[in-house]
Structure formats: C-alpha cells, structure tokens
Amino acid sequence: MDSIIKKICAGDVRSASRLIRDIEDKIPEARTKIKKLYTHTGKSFIIGITGAPGAGKSTLTDALITKLRKNNKTIGVLAVDPTSPFTGGAILGDRIRMQSHADDPGVFVRSLATRGALGGLSQAAGDAIHIMEAMGKDIIIVETVGIGQQEIDIINHAHSVLVVLVPGMGDEVQTMKAGLMEIADIFVINKANRAGAKQLQMELTSMLNLSSKTTDGWNPPVVMVGDAFKPETFTEDIANLSRKIEEHHVYLRQSGKLTERMHRKAMAEIKDALHTCLLEPVIKSLTAKGELEKFAEKIKNRKADPYSVAEEITQRFLKKEIEK
C-alpha cells in the first residue's frame, strides 16, 4: 500500500490534511490516491449542519463535539466558508468557535473555502469526507457555508441534515418554501431565548404537520437551543439535540433509509466525478489554447450561439480532437 495511504488509514493528520489540500488544488495525483483510499471509506456517520450566516452553526458544532467526545467518539469536522469572487481569497473563521478542541487528538477540524462552488460546500468536500472516513473517524460533521434557501448540496453527503434557524427571519410563508425547508431531518431553532422563537416553533410544527415526510416514519423534530452563554441550560439543550441525532441514526438504519441515502450519495459522486473527468479537462484545454475566448467573442457578436458552440465542442471531444 502507498505509504501516504497507510498513514492516512492510521489516522495521520498531516498526511490527511495535505491530501485534502491536493484535492482542493486539483493536483492530478491526488485523484489516484483517492481511488486507492476509496475501499477504506463509507463507515463513518456523517452529520450535516446548515443554515444562514451567523445562525450559530459553528457554535453548535463545537458543542456537539464536546458532547460526542464524552462518549469517546472520534470526530472529523469540515467547516466551509466563502471564497471571494474577486480575489480568490477567503477568511476561514469557523475554527474560532472550535479551538478548545484543537489539541484534542480525537478531533480533526479542517476548514475549506468554497472556491466558487455554489451549493453550500466546496468541490473538494466529498473527497475530504472520504479522507476523514479513511482515517477512521466515527463521526464527521460537515458545516456548510452560511446559506439561503437553495444551497442544498449537503443532502448528497450527510446522513442526517440539521437545518439551523433563528427567530426573526420572516413570516410563516418562509417555512412553506421549497428547498432548504424540505431537507431537514432535524430542525434546530437556535438562540431560542430570543423573541419570536415560540412563534417560529409553531410555524414550523404546523408546516411539518402538512408534510408527506410524516408518512415514512420520521417526523423531523424541532429542537430548541437557547443561550450559549448559559452553560446549565445550553448543555441540556445540546444533550437533547444529540439524542435526536442518535434517534435519527437508529431510524435510518432500521428503516433501510440509510442504504437509500448511500445510493443517493453514490449517484452524486458519479456525477461529480464525471464533471471532474469529462468537463473540466475540456474547458481547461480550450481555455489554455485561447479557444474559449474566441468562442465567447463570436457569441458576443451574435456570429454563433452557445448551444451550437457546445455541440461543436462535444463532437470534437468525441472524435478525440481535444486532448486532455
């Protein structure tokens, strides 16, 4: 076995983090390593945490780590923050909330920048999860970038999805909308000590009562989590949340839904890999040769249309006229 693969499977943080970096930077050899790692993946339980910026995702993640460490679970955390569309830079600040776990060898926290991905994660997130799985982490928590209504890539990666809401973000109609409000396995009303929390809880509950999800054996619970600066009640709220996550895990296993989710995940992985293996090299090759620019010029001047251009490129690719 490749020595770096061996090291990662033995839990070596440096090798793992470096491979994640290589994946992020799209180093071709990194893909070869993932191929070799793949058989060692698929055994961790993956929790997704998503919600608006500042809703408290990192603080909840930190508190869940504390709780899960008490049960001796080893934990990997992927925390995603946004990349600047202008400079390509990023501030990765989720760690601040989790630094008390930095020197706990049972916890590995890695920040990822979105690098242009729009689904709430980064393109490297899937493989970063694989790497943490190969390290043998019992539980992997994936914290998405702060999101709105529609960035729901997390459902292709996590077994249980927590949607974190805070009071005061809009009226009842918001809870009826498609997208984010449909993907929660567990709703968390965070900062529930604030005004409007009860109202939100009521709106969510009545929305859930109409939902067809109730027929397949799991009613997404609405968990209230109060002031993080009041340790007595906060610890209790987190214990309650952690219980709900465990219940959902049990439900997934017993109902066969876990297999269903793994299948969905595999489908998404194939599509992502196709994107990486088919589309990216073509775009890269055309960009390098300046062809993409020329096509853009033609389209701009209405000498061509995007569909004809795409069809022409596809034909050339199939005839192997575009080298990788």
Binding site: V13, R18, R21, T87, I91, L92, R95, I96, A102, D103
Partner: protein, 133 residues
Amino acid sequence: MPERKIRVMVAKPGLDGHDRGARILARCFRDAGFEVVYTGCHQTPEQIAAAAVQEDVDLVGLSCLSGAHRMLFPRVVELLREKDADDITVIGGGIIPEQDFSLLYDSGIKAIFTPGASLDSIVEWIKTNVRPH
C-alpha cells in the same frame, strides 16, 4: 501544473485580547488572494501548532501585544518541529522591542513586523518567501 493557493493562519497566542491588528491582517491577506484561517485570541502554542497542521497552512502569523512573545513565539516553532511540520513558516508581529529580534530569529521565526510596517510589505514578504507545497 495547477495553481497552488497560499494558505495562511493568523493566530494570537497568550493572554492578549487585542486583535484589531490581527483582524486587519487577516482581511488584508484575504484581499491578497490567500486563504486565511483565523483562530481568534487566547491561544496556547499547542492549540496553534495543532491547528496549523490540521489546516495544512504554509505560514503562521503570530500576533502578540502583551510582551510574552519571547516565550510564546519560539514555542510554536518548537512544537511544529516536533510534529514534523517545520516546513511551515512562522512569522511574528506586534509590540516587539528590537533587542528581542535576534532571540526570535535564532529560534526560527522567519520575519518580524512591528507597528508601522505596511500591509503591502507583509503581503510582499509572504509572496516572495512562501511557496505553497
């Protein structure tokens, strides 16, 4: 070869809550196109070194205004060495008297920036001296 992104970490070791400077630097590194992990204040050298390895950064920028840099900065370098991560460049800044420079350089700190250093000069230093692995 695809382009490598520079990853840096900005950290404040010790009992020092004055992080205006560190935040401005973090923001300025973001604008320079780096990915910047910010750990916040009150960090032990152990937390900083562990985080640097977990995050696979190329550089750690330590900021200290409390006067404890003589103890804290070299300790971070030492811990990185112990973790087989001495390829991570460590630089420092803050209220650091000139007579302490040689002690810090000798301990493995690669650059020191004190009040008055321009943001551009720090970014330039990083771009010149740090090659993402």
